[in-house]
Amino acid sequence: MGAAISLQDLSFTYAETTRPALRNINGHIEEGTFVVVMGHEGAGKSTLCYSLNALVPRFFRGEYCGKVLVHGVEVAKARIAEMAPRVGLVLQDFEAQLFSTSVELEMAFGPENLGLPRDEIEQRIDRYLRFVGLADMRRREPASLSGGQKQRLAIASVLALEPAVLVMDEPTTDLDPIGREEVLSVADTLRQERRTLLVVEQDPEVATDADQVWLMREGEIVAQGPPRQVLTDLDLLERCGVQPPPTLALFRALNWPGQPLTPEEAIALIQQHGLARPRPLKVGGQTADGRPVILDVQDVDYIYPAREVEALKGVSLQIREGEFVALIGQNGSGKTTLAKHLNGLLKPTRGEVLYRGRPLQEIRRTEIAHQVGYVFQNPDHQIFSNTVREEVSFSLKMAGLDEKTIRERVAEALEVVGLSGYEEEVPFTLTKGERQRVAVASVLAAQPEVIILDEPTTGLDYRHQRNMMEMLRALHRRGHTVIIITHSMWVTAEYAERVIVMKDGQILLDAPTRDAFAEERILAEASLRPPTLLRLGNYLGTSALTQEAMVEELRSL
């Protein structure tokens, strides 16, 4: 087997920036191998991807030194269109890579650009749509597909160019758990076909299957090698802002022998060495029963008027003062629809939602903002001001508060989210994580009792996810009731007190967090799985939710 990709001392600095995005990158990828690239936000992972198909330096200009060879072709000397049949690139944002008004035309687009004859195009459409499992969607409009389907279409449309190397830049980040599974299984099939595959991914479990893992930090590659070598250096992972494999971290903390990267490996090791004896799990976690009810959802149905789809069916639910609740479930299960009922954005088709005993419909819009705050998933859907101060004070101005109160509240909200001193910054220039915080601050400034967040950690790297969740925990401690909608199981396990699982517009399960994650069968009905650590915890019968607590619990046995 020959070299598919060879990087020789590659450095790149984007035009009009000073810090190099890539620094002295060296690397070698054999034909038919699977490489996973990991690292923090801004580590240079995307730039590395772009340097493989000539987007760097052709599309993004800048200072370029070194050499990249793909199957012997020097990338910097080729045009992007020439690289297209050699290196296929799939991006994180699936909305931004589909151009056509029908699935089959999307597939035909690349081959048409290559000037292939019609029957060849036909064959390729057929082959690769079947490959990603979208064969019966040929006539559909891409806009009508689910996220996972869109991303699979994006992959298939790139495969239709039959590139020798496939590069995917965080292909699963924006997807729900099912969509993620779908995309990962496509990646798996590609790997079995021995295609050369380079994937940027955050999840250590995916990296476990790789032939090589590259770890990046501040534009440099700091480790390169088989997963068992790279993923076991926990300090290094920490420094690169990458989540360490939870089972391995647990074993290290307990000084247990072996280096398990998955729960299955961990269980095998435990059995082999008799490290601990599984016992039945004690459930029956604490509930917030005694406290006053803030939000009371009474037998709510909701039908979207335009689509005539029943999005909620007989949902009843009580949220009590000071709870920390996670709403989980697939896209389309009704989580967001339910959450939008909690601040009156949607009016129930049947049933009622009460805020402290008052029907929400009777409360004025501007007033609700001061009781139930709602942070939307994408901060860019709400940021419109030229300074952070203006943005955060928006709801206060709408409520007609005086200048002095506004100033105080803004300062306070910014302090809570850790952005003090950012008042005069331009929000659009901040990083995604910071913009997310501005959005939270702008909702907090109104001092709502309840704060709802739609996927607060999506699109953030591990370090920023932690920061965001620690901030929410602090809010919770100050007395706010927090409700999050999330796809992240470990976030749910470590931070929420109560879990509500939604499926097909109904509540499938509503229980304290540990109890909920013990119900693997019910979770599977909603196509969900407990986080890595709790899969092991369910086997061992531990009631802990975090690694630290689990270590303690296992030690005290």
Binding site: R58, A81, S102, A143, H381, Q382, F428
Partner: protein
Amino acid sequence: MNIFLYLDENTWFHRLDSRTKILGVLLLFCMAMVFNHPLYVAGFALGLVWLAAAAKALPNFWRVRYLLFLLVAFSTLLWPFFAKGPTPLWSWGRLQVSRESLLYAIAMGLRLASFVGAGLIFLSITTNEEFTQGLIRLRLPYPIAFAFSTALRLVPTFAGAGATIVQAQISRGLDVESGNIFQRAGKFIPLAVPLFIYAIRHTNMLAMALESKGFNPGAPRTWYYDPQMRRADYLVLALLTALFLGMLSLRLQGYGQVLPRL
């Protein structure tokens, strides 16, 4: 709601070549402009309704029924004051209405409805892909056709983002429904700015993905869709052309005219 008007049926009209559909609807537009006598225009409009029924496009007519009604009503009310005719019917100060101008007004209402109707038939039987492909086959340069079809693809995405943005700002206390017209206009800024930035942020990503798939505006390329003009297509075009010329010659002989203008 599906914002596209295409109706997925399999009528004889649906199966026509996209070039025939485009040229055909242009001929229909021309025919709608030949007469300005209400009876003649009404005859043509009825013909269109028959055509719509045959192409199973009537559901779309139903969908825009208020629009159609308003068009006729509005035009009928408006034109008498602008088109002048010889036989006075009624006058009030400087405003006067003549018999001819009233008839003309009714004809114009029907003509407007015919425009909309012909357009609707076209949109009901033509997919976005066919439309774009037809334009390309009629020698529209590819980059323009590409921009057109990509815009069609992006509209639902942006409309969805727009709806989310409205909700996000409402839940922060934005009240779009109160205030005078100027205050309301100012309130569009918290909606327009995020939509604009969201969409424009897409640009670089789209351009990257596009080039990564080997797009090159000037370079030769092949087409997956390969529409064929068949006998039925030529027949339809010949028939429509003959009909148009026939109507034109009638008008030139003075039939179907209430006022000597278009």
